[in-house]
Symmetry: C2
Subunit: 499 residues, 2 copies
């Protein structure tokens, strides 16, 4: 076969695998949105079968030989070359984990998840210790099987963001931590802002309609996606022309749905903007979880919690909730939605203290993976770090180390991408401001198309061509630097807490 034929054959195989993986995603989406309760048992089997099929296609020897041949073929375009190269890397990564190892991991995750649910219910951290330690041991093994330079934790972080490592994260956290602590300290000495009006009765229907209007506003394409309700908001996609997001509505809070909409909307804009011609191929996929998170955070925080954004949007919002917000002005609203307050729960944290929640998890995971810490020490060390960074006394494990689902799912190395995502977002937004000096004015006029187009051109359309670091460099001219977030946060919170 010549290069074109090889590439064709490769593309066909990859697209079929994508078909199966996306089919599994449809089943998962349905499971979280519309599936009747009794459908759950068989649905589990159906998803598992599709994943097994996809995995068996992905690890077929035939695919391996094809990829090797393709990678040594001449005459491919640079995009084709990059696809071939990334697919070979993926293949080799998949082959490093023997089916027995994958099965053992999956069985232990199953057990750990159920132990975690039980532990949470009983508010009894010890129930989760043993299965957690078992997963940690398996994760260490996984790191060894995958290989790494430096810290074994690098192998695990690379699963979510190829190339992310402890050097990068340590550096940004070392810069971030003192700056944020100082800022937090400053805030805690000022008068707290009033956000009580965010917690009144906000009619569900109106919230739902307002959420759709917001999504439309930021450029979500409803002909290539939709929003539904689920218990936990998420984004999924079955092609770049079918991107599904979900939200939840709390009738007694305005914030819950609104920022879930913008956050998932940001993820969705990324997926909708991935290049359609690379369906099933690496260049049609997102760069990394860090970059994915940067796309949700830039809309949720840098734009969605800015004064400019609400200068345009607050009057519209008031037409949805005249009774609740009639007496509130834009400045009061802006302050309320940016209230900073240390707390126990990561998912409820504000934009600033959020990073401490991540640092704590990052530090613990690193120590668990290099063996300095074991599962039985996690609870007390967790509580110690919460006191140290956030000054709060964790009352129990439910408000402590049992709060997140991640470990019970075997997701070690994931948390850091929430912070790097937020830092990338600040850096990207600074670059946009730099290129378009009137961007705040545009936003204040309800015009976010310049931002949308910039992200499409510099992030979305690049797919997986670059690593996060390379993409950041190509888009902003620099590698990741925490100072953009620090500057952004300092300015914002000084504005809010000085007046």
């Amino acid at each position: 076969m010549n290069a074109a034929e090889l590439y064709n054959s490769y593309q066909t195989k990859m697209q079929k695998i994508a078909d199966v993986k996306y089919a599994a995603a449809v089943l998962e989406w349905d499971q979280e949105t519309y599936m009747p309760v009794n459908g759950s048992d068989k649905r589990g089997c159906q998803i598992a079968t599709l994943n097994e099929i996809a995995h068996s296609f992905l690890t077929e020897e035939q695919l391996g030989s094809l990829l090797l041949e393709l990678n040594s073929a001449t005459g491919l375009s640079s995009a084709e070359k990059r696809n071939a190269e990334l697919s070979l890397q993926d293949y080799q990564r998949n082959k490093k984990l023997a089916p027995e190892f994958v099965r053992s991991m999956s069985e232990n995750i199953h057990m750990a998840y159920h132990a975690w649910v039980k532990a949470r219910k009983a508010n009894e951290g010890s129930i989760f210790q043993q299965p957690l330690q078992k997963l940690i041991d398996l994760k260490k093994q996984q790191a060894d099987l995958l290989g790494y330079e430096g810290h074994p934790y690098n192998a695990l972080m690379s699963e979510y963001d190829k190339g992310l490592n402890t050097n990068i994260v340590d550096t940004v956290f070392t810069n971030l931590q003192p700056a944020l602590s100082k800022l937090l300290n400053f805030i805690q000495q000022r008068q707290q802002v009033n956000d009580s009006f965010l917690y009144q009765l906000y009619n569900k229907d109106s919230q739902w309609k307002y959420g759709l209007a917001l999504l439309k506003n930021i450029g979500f394409d409803f002909e290539s996606g939709r929003q539904d309700i689920s218990i936990h908001p998420f984004t999924t996609n079955f092609s770049n022309a079918d991107v599904r997001i979900t939200t939840r509505i709390d009738e007694n809070s305005f914030s819950n749905m609104t920022w879930s909409c913008i956050h998932e909307g940001g993820h969705a804009l990324y997926e909708q903007g991935l290049p359609a011609e690379y369906y099933g191929l690496p260049l049609g996929e997102y760069c990394s979880l860090s970059i994915h998170e940067s796309q949700s955070r830039i809309w949720e925080n840098n734009i969605g919690r800015s004064l400019s954004f609400w200068e345009h949007n607050f009057p519209l919002l008031k037409t949805f909730f005249p009774e609740q917000l009639g007496n509130i002005n834009t400045s009061q609203f802006f302050k309320a939605i940016n209230k900073v307050q240390p707390s126990f729960i990561r998912t409820e944290a504000d934009e600033l203290t959020y990073h401490f929640h991540v640092m704590i998890r990052y530090e613990i995971e690193k120590l668990l993976i290099d063996g300095t810490l074991t599962a039985k020490d996690v609870s007390s060390y967790w509580n110690e770090l919460y006191k140290k960074y956030l000054g709060v006394i964790v009352p129990d494990d439910r408000h402590g180390y049992l709060q997140d689902i991640h470990w019970s799912h075997g997701s070690f190395g994931y948390f850091a991408t929430y912070s790097t995502g937020s830092l990338y977002a600040a850096q990207l937004y600074a670059a946009i401001n730099n290129e378009h000096i009137d961007i705040e004015r545009q936003v204040a006029q309800g015009n976010t198309i310049t931002i949308f187009n910039w992200l499409r051109a510099n992030i979305h359309s690049k797919g997986r061509f670059y690593t996060s670091e390379e993409l950041c460099k190509s888009a902003t001219g620099e590698y990741l630097d925490a100072k953009y977030f620090t500057n952004y946060a300092t300015k914002k919170y000084q504005d809010i807490y000085s007046s």
Copy 2:
């Protein structure tokens, strides 16, 4: 391997295949209900890939050997034996059609479907002639490949109802046709009933809520299923614990949604009642399309259009639509929903004239398959038969032979199951009445549980153990006989049109 091991291995394989087929069904359901418009392209690929995978699993040589070995093993229970036997029949049937033939059929269906859409749009029957003839030729070939006794059309009808043949259908139609013509003639000489009040503004929300109440009433389990909106109502399922039905709502008609709900609800009760322990195996599947249709029709017509049913339900219905129905009494309502009037369109036909629509299609299909008729003669022969049986002059092909999607999908041999379904329904309902002489009184009191339980015990729980004919015999003591429908219809329409 011993018999138990063989059976286990067979069961595992079949369940995995079912997982893939049901996954495809989820994707199809989503496509018809929630999928955004741009998702369509890739969704087509995803469904095709899943179907290809299922087909390749179903025709693997390894499965064939396993089935042969299993069928000669001793020590299986009668249910296990029957599963093994039916799966082997299915396997052998699948192997009779070479992949090239299947592909050619699928490509020609694709072309025929698009020609049909174009022909309908242009109201120009000739556009559809050539692709239709091509499909007919392929269908003849399929009949030869599958093999048959008697008429080649038997091979095609057997695809929808194994064992259904021209002897059976000719016999029932020969008995049915003169009786129905006589009845129609009688009706046409009487004063027509007034159904104008069914066509007013019926609020969509209220219709939706009323539909759900109706479904609940007849025993639809909302923990094992749900209803949604789609352009064409349908029933699908992903296990017997996840059965989805859809409906459509016309704000200017009460009938559309109501009987679509009960009709699809009847299909759904069947699926929900199939034995869960045989997931993926023949005994967990429905008997035939005729029997499936009998389950929808018995609820839609024999029960749902009976005076007893509305004696209980009409007062409730009035609470939903007091303005529209406040001045109507149960007897007027009963007559209106049973109005008989010859028409051009099968899907809009009443319970009586519906059979003529089917007879016409059946007669034409038989002649097309044995070569007596060719595609170019269909339009004029169609119109001739409509004049003969229903006394109506078909104005154009859109109201004539272009109205149904079936032929463009390659579905030849399907139509007869609509009539046999209706005949089975009447026969089953007669049997229920025979066993429970107070059934009408029960229904009039809003109690349909006896009917529900009877159908569960005699039809649903039997899965595919019997053929339609055998199942009918086992449930009613007799093979299919059109007289039950004739008696039922004669009594009903004499009641309605005599007063």
